[in-house]
């Protein structure tokens, strides 16, 4: 099995929001960033993958198992980290292990205590005494203790300081180093992904904008900058998004259209640039 996660034509209708026809796959051994502005459907997608929401249509396979008909098998090798922990506040860390470990046949107690040590989490502490970064690490420690093959993180870095975010990225790069583990990582702090992610899935307004290699994603777009007089209506049509200011403009363009902008100042785009400019377009059209 080459793909650890396969999402096909996934759709979900709410009264006020629709997720439409999301398709992507995450191969074994890589990190995928799931990006998009708040409210674009990242968490909905993750909850559909976890079968915490009922899909309207489509298909999800986790490690080859259907997430509904083979839910148990699918979740046996799955680790999940949410933006806040899902344990009882009153539990001591040792109690967390007692409560959760029995559900996983291959739970490794020694690995758990080693990981706690590495993360500087004292087993005698209570969950409510842990900082946000520590809570995230506790969830990771659990996932590592049963050797989860696929790790899904939903906005793990929101509310984390830069040090903890950097630590998380180190932990994840190490996790996939052996080529046997994969990570799906949703975030709106795209700086986290700029370097470490292998793949990007970008969801915008409930629709799939792009899914594929990160380098390819970034390479598809360029930022052009110029003075106000250099901007013509024809050029404007070719721009995906533009920001005007009194002394000039900057815009996101497709790399394939670059020839027409050769006279302008051209720079590589960052993931943030792409998300910001493409989302602005969406606002105008909706």
């Amino acid at each position: 099995m080459n793909n650890y996660l396969e999402v096909r034509n996934l759709s979900k209708s709410f009264e006020s929001f629709q997720l439409r026809d999301i398709t992507f796959s995450l191969p074994k051994g890589y990190i995928m960033g799931l990006i998009g502005p708040n409210g674009s459907g990242k968490t909905t997608t993750i909850k559909l993958i976890l079968n915490m929401l009922k899909r309207t249509s489509g298909e999800v396979k986790i490690l080859g198992f259907d997430n509904i008909t083979n839910e148990q098998e699918a979740k046996r090798n799955l680790g999940v980290v949410f933006d806040s922990n899902y344990f009882s506040d009153e539990w001591k860390i040792s109690q967390v292990e007692k409560s959760v470990s029995s559900f996983y046949e291959n739970w490794d107690t020694q690995k758990f205590s080693e990981t706690l040590k590495r993360f500087h989490i004292q087993p005698s502490k209570r969950v409510k005494e842990l900082s946000k970064g520590m809570q995230m690490k506790l969830m990771l420690a659990c996932a590592f203790s049963y050797d989860a093959k696929l790790l899904i993180l939903d906005e793990p870095t929101s509310g984390l300081d830069p040090v903890s975010r950097d630590e998380l990225l180190n932990i994840l790069s190490e996790y996939i180093e052996d080529g046997e583990h994969s990570v799906l990582f949703s975030t709106h702090i795209t700086g986290d992904l700029e370097r470490a992610a292998d793949y990007i899935t970008y969801i915008s307004y409930g629709e799939l904008f792009f899914s594929g290699g990160k380098d390819e994603f970034i390479d598809r777009f360029r930022i052009v900058k110029g003075g106000c007089e250099e901007l013509s209506a024809d050029l404007g049509k070719k721009m995906i998004g533009i920001r005007n200011f009194s002394t000039g403009f900057e815009a996101l363009v497709k790399t394939e259209d670059l020839k027409q902008f050769a006279h302008l100042n051209v720079e590589p785009a960052t993931i943030d640039d792409i998300v910001v400019f493409t989302s602005k377009r969406g606002e105008q059209y909706e």
Partner: protein, 216 residues
């Protein structure tokens, strides 16, 4: 160890920090029994109270958004539900046994005579009441959450009032069937047991259905 049992154990670990509180609550019926000088009242009250504490698992889960933990564990939703019923029934039994020891001792000290038959009688009614409360209560919690779900507690209460009135109106002598049933404790017991089992099965099935359709 199968998943139902694991799930019941997880529920226990949720409630564990609150065990002391629950024990304290169980003192209340003892006082009640002592004041009323009645084992039956004491036990009935105890079983109602312990039935109410089943809400703990739900309120703790909600407070910590633990439906996310339940959502990622490799376990069927039906096993989770059955596990919770098992845990709740164990709690009920623990409370019953505690009360069946504590109440008669206290009442004897106070000078009442308590026979084995009294104990059995109180126990049967206690179990019946507990079952009646919980079969409505749990689907209520699953459907509406720990706060709004409490209204389901009043279904059996209302049910009592509605059924008790007509029952007292029926002239026992005229209905031969009713007469036989009421005069044979064994038959009454058997009917009660069947009734409790059927109610639990329906309640569990309803709860599973609710949980399966729930979106978190």
């Amino acid at each position: 160890m199968n998943n139902i049992w694991k799930s019941a154990k997880l529920d226990f670990s949720l409630v564990k920090p609150y065990v002391k509180t629950i024990c304290l609550i169980m003192i209340l019926p003892i006082v009640f029994a002592a004041v009323n000088r009645s084992l039956l009242t004491g036990i009935s009250f105890a079983m109602c109270l312990i039935a109410k504490t089943t809400g703990y698992t739900f309120s703790i889960t909600e407070k910590n958004s633990m439906e996310r933990l339940y959502g990622i564990l490799p376990i069927r939703k039906s096993d989770m539900v059955i596990g919770r019923y098992i845990f709740m029934i164990i709690m009920g039994f623990a409370a019953l046994i505690f009360s069946l020891v504590a109440h008669p001792i206290l009442l004897t000290i106070l000078g009442e005579t308590i026979s084995i038959f009294d104990c059995m009688n109180a126990a049967s009614i206690g179990i019946f009441l507990f079952a009646l409360y919980t079969v409505f209560q749990l689907p209520g919690y699953y459907k509406l959450g720990s706060i709004k779900g409490r209204v389901f507690l009043y279904i059996p209460v209302a049910g009592f009032l509605i059924t008790l009135l007509p029952i007292t109106q029926i002239p026992v002598g005229e209905s031969k069937l009713l007469f036989t049933v009421i005069n044979s404790p064994a038959l009454l017991m058997l009917l009660a047991v069947i009734f409790v089992i059927v109610m639990y099965v329906i309640s569990i099935l309803v709860s599973i259905k609710i949980l399966k359709n729930k979106e978190v």
